[in-house]
Subunit: 141 residues, 2 copies
DNA sequence: TAAAATTATATTGCACACAATATAATTTAC
DNA sequence: GTAAATTATATTGTGTGCAATATAATTTTA
């Protein structure tokens, strides 16, 4: 009869710990680009979409405006993105990449490879992990 | 040839998202005990160990003193833990549970079950997930 | 069509998370 | 035995995360 309330028996704790470990592994590579991990996530979306409302961006990266608004302002200060209210609907703020933001993709392209090496994971482990994690994540809706 | 720099091709992003989703699922249950998720992790350790130095606690939950010191002070204010410098070595601060902190375990024992139901995961999924995550986590040392 | 409801973003407040630095106590090396 | 190095915790500063609330614009409804 094992103790449910023991750290070593928790499933969520390793996920929580791994998530932070991942961000820490990204850090040196992202430092070179002067961005943080959540900012990198925003860039990953914008490199595909060019222009998106704050709310749509939030749906993609699972972050709300309380997190995104100040984050986007910091990215604006670094001249990576521009923010401007839609003229059609003035409630909406459209976010788009600046030339500097677009150009950053060139420096970022080697990051996925570097990260995998840094974390010493095999593609097989990654795929298995992604499959299980996404299956659970999709249940949350 | 798929784009490595696409959010849907990232493995780390789902883990990052799932970790936050987990904390959000814990929130309503932990709110009842007036604690946060990292505070819950500290309690999980202390319910086993009774007394531990700040540094040892940090090794268990993978948090450094910049996070732990203020967190423990908040727990002290809520009278869940006590902190006192070791007389043997005055650099060391020993953390232990107060009677209130010990008693909280009774209210916490139902949380693991509640969480699993809340997240709609099967024990099989959990075990598979834990195995893969821990394998990768252990590589980081 | 004007009040009510909804929508989109912003603000505030609190609690992490972590790098960098500081401080104080203990060990070590000479 | 004392200066230097190490160890343990604390502090500071920046950047998330997220709940709760605010604000302003648009849409719905009576």
């Amino acid at each position: 009869m094992s103790d449910q309330l023991a750290l070593e028996n928790q499933v969520c704790f390793p996920i929580y710990a791994l998530a932070r470990e991942i961000v820490n592994h990204y850090r040196p590579f992202l430092d070179e680009l002067d961005i943080t991990y959540p900012q990198y996530l925003v860039l990953l979306v914008l490199w595909k979409e060019t222009e998106l409302a704050v709310g749509q961006l939030g749906e993609r990266v699972f972050l709300d405006t309380g997190t995104l608004t100040p984050l986007l302002k910091r990215m604006q200060q670094k001249e990576l993105v521009s923010r401007q209210r839609s003229t059609q609907d003035e409630r909406i703020v459209m976010v788009s990449l600046t030339p500097k933001g677009i150009k950053l993709k060139e420096q970022a392209c080697s990051i996925p490879q570097k990260l995998m090496e840094s974390m010493q994971v095999t593609p097989e482990e990654l795929n298995l992990l992604k499959e299980v994690v996404c299956r659970i994540l999709n249940k949350q809706k």
